[in-house]
């Protein structure tokens, strides 16, 4: 994206690209916190780059976009994003985001966290938020392991690999996140890898303007704690694998989206359906029961009120 394109984007609050900016995504990041903590070859930075470009392309007022993370490597994303940002507790980004959204419905609330955070300790909150069709945008960077804590088996770790807690091989079946999200009721479900930067940016842009519970899984390399232990090469080798093994199949059945150690990776948009979201359901139920007596909850319009 060049500067001319950036100027064309009409944001409610214009984003100024500093003259000495090395990269046009700088205004979206807390540059005073650089360098970040992620390892060379890690894919989380790539996803953040896609996210900043999606924010720019979506023309959202960035003062009204909040980002909530849990704990882990991806949990650090909130701390680097120059938005109202919350680094919460392990597994609880989604319930925090639920409270934030209900108290301040004008916010676009993005949950940005990892697979261990969202699907092990936080799995219960994920399925309930999807069931309610809570108006949240959930981006899960899936590196198939607990990276920050040393490469332990996660609920997403595929069979036949070794991990810090499975030195003789993982034998537990892994979650298929696409199938889980669809079954729980998500309005939008997609999967991409960090090789698919254009598609990922577009998917992120798409959900920023879309109502309901939206979920994007991003398969992302962890050279330090997943690949090295399994002799799977470095970050570049992961890119080659993603390039060769990925099959774009929009609308594929969720049951076809299982991930294995080195097999096919089905990517694309699998679910995009209309369901009334939590706010609409609340309003319609209250209006039906209480009629004219129902008053919308008071929401102060700003901190001056």
């Amino acid at each position: 994206m060049n500067e001319a394109t950036i100027e064309k984007a009409t944001l409610e609050v214009p984003v100024e690209i500093p003259a000495d900016a090395v990269n046009p995504v700088e205004p979206f990041l807390r540059m005073d916190r650089m360098p970040h903590i992620w390892c060379p070859g890690c894919g989380i930075g790539t996803t953040v780059n896609c996210f900043t470009r999606a924010l720019l392309a979506s023309k959202r007022n960035l003062d009204k976009v909040a980002i909530v993370s849990g704990i882990g490597c991806t949990g650090r994303v909130a701390g680097y994003a120059r938005l109202d940002s919350f680094h919460t507790t392990h597994g609880r980004a989604i319930p925090f985001a639920t409270g934030l959204k209900l108290a301040n419905p004008e916010l676009d609330v993005v949950v940005y966290s990892g697979d261990g955070d969202l699907f092990a300790i936080g799995g219960n909150h994920f399925i309930h938020a999807a069931r309610r069709n809570m108006d949240l945008k959930v981006i899960c960077v899936n590196n198939l392991t607990y990276a920050m804590t040393g490469g332990q088996t996660a609920p997403t770790t595929p069979g036949k690999v070794t991990s810090a807690t499975a030195p003789y091989g993982v034998f537990e079946p892994a979650f298929n996140l696409v199938a889980l999200a669809e079954a729980a009721g998500a309005a939008y479900v997609a999967r991409w890898t960090t090789y698919h930067v254009k598609q990922l940016s577009r998917a992120m842009e798409e959900i920023l303007g879309r109502k309901g519970f939206c979920f994007i899984e991003v398969l992302s390399p962890c050279p330090t704690l997943y690949q090295r232990r399994n002799k799977m090469g470095d970050g570049l080798d992961a890119m080659k694998y993603y390039k060769e093994a990925s099959k774009i199949r929009h609308g594929a059945r969720a049951s076809e989206c299982d991930l294995t150690r080195d097999g096919e990776i089905v990517v694309g948009k699998f679910v995009d359906r209309e369901r009334p979201d939590y706010g609409e359901l609340l309003r319609s139920q209250m209006t039906e029961t209480l009629g004219d007596k129902y008053a919308e909850p008071e929401v102060s319009c700003c901190s001056e009120c």
Binding site: G79, T89, G99, L102, H128, S303
Partner: protein, 324 residues
Amino acid sequence: MEDELASSIAIQGAVWGGAKAFTVTSGPGFSLMMEHIGYAAMTETPCVFVNVQRGGPSTGLPTLPAQADMMQAKWGSHGDYGVIALCPNSPQECFDLTVTGFNLAEEFRVPVMMMLDECVGHMTEKVVIPEAEKIEITPRRFTKLPPEEFRLFQPRADKVPDMVRAGDGYRFHVTGLTHDERGYPSMNVDTQDRSIRRLQEKLAPMADGRALCDTEHLEDAEVVVVSYGITSRVAQRALQLAREQGIRAGKFRIISAWPFPEQRFRELAGRVKAFVVPELNLGQMVLEVERAAQGRAAVIPLSHAGGGVHQPATILKAIVEAAR
């Protein structure tokens, strides 16, 4: 919400979204909320937790009274931090003190615990709810500074920082990690020392002049019954009987249990003979009374494992013996 972990953090999301919020639970649920009580303390998120105490540990005695979570309210989450805990003893106080609890949460930016017990929680009594405009509400103290000058955890002179709300253009960062005044994570001994000490120091007024209590006959008392919640209502009868026998018995009902009102107890310890401390636990707040008394008055615990309440006669007997 789906569980206590969710409700105890959803309220904090709501607070940063500009709302006032609270959650309600009993025993096991309170245990589940502990991590987020620490998060609220660390991120200085004003919110209210109501715990209607039952007998424990574990599932314990559902729907039967105890007061055995008092230490948990203070120490239950890991690390050093400060909280405020209030102990109502009637339905009217449940209303009034919850308002107070919300106000104190805003003033000090701490999680406030409403520590009821099953009896007070299930009690039916007349409650007068004032007209809305007659209720004193402490508004959230939002910063007046523009975003470029504002620092999220820069304390005012009272050691409490101003708040902001998500969506107002401040682009602030909140984390449960140790953070500097900007709110940025800081793995630094000096930052840890400065910020964690402040979490306790900002509550100093509540341990001293701002402590809430209900006292009777302290001016001439030689034996003081220290109680809170339902136990204070049982103790009231014992105090009356003791006075009728000519014993100079006084009442100290703790309303704000945390920070412990230690200044008041230090003063009293110098001039009374004994403190009698009935509690529906095996001895919790009595340890604080002992600490504050510093050996200058006898401290007599009257423990009860919960499931019921003390007999007034038991408390009376302890008063009589202490007065001898």
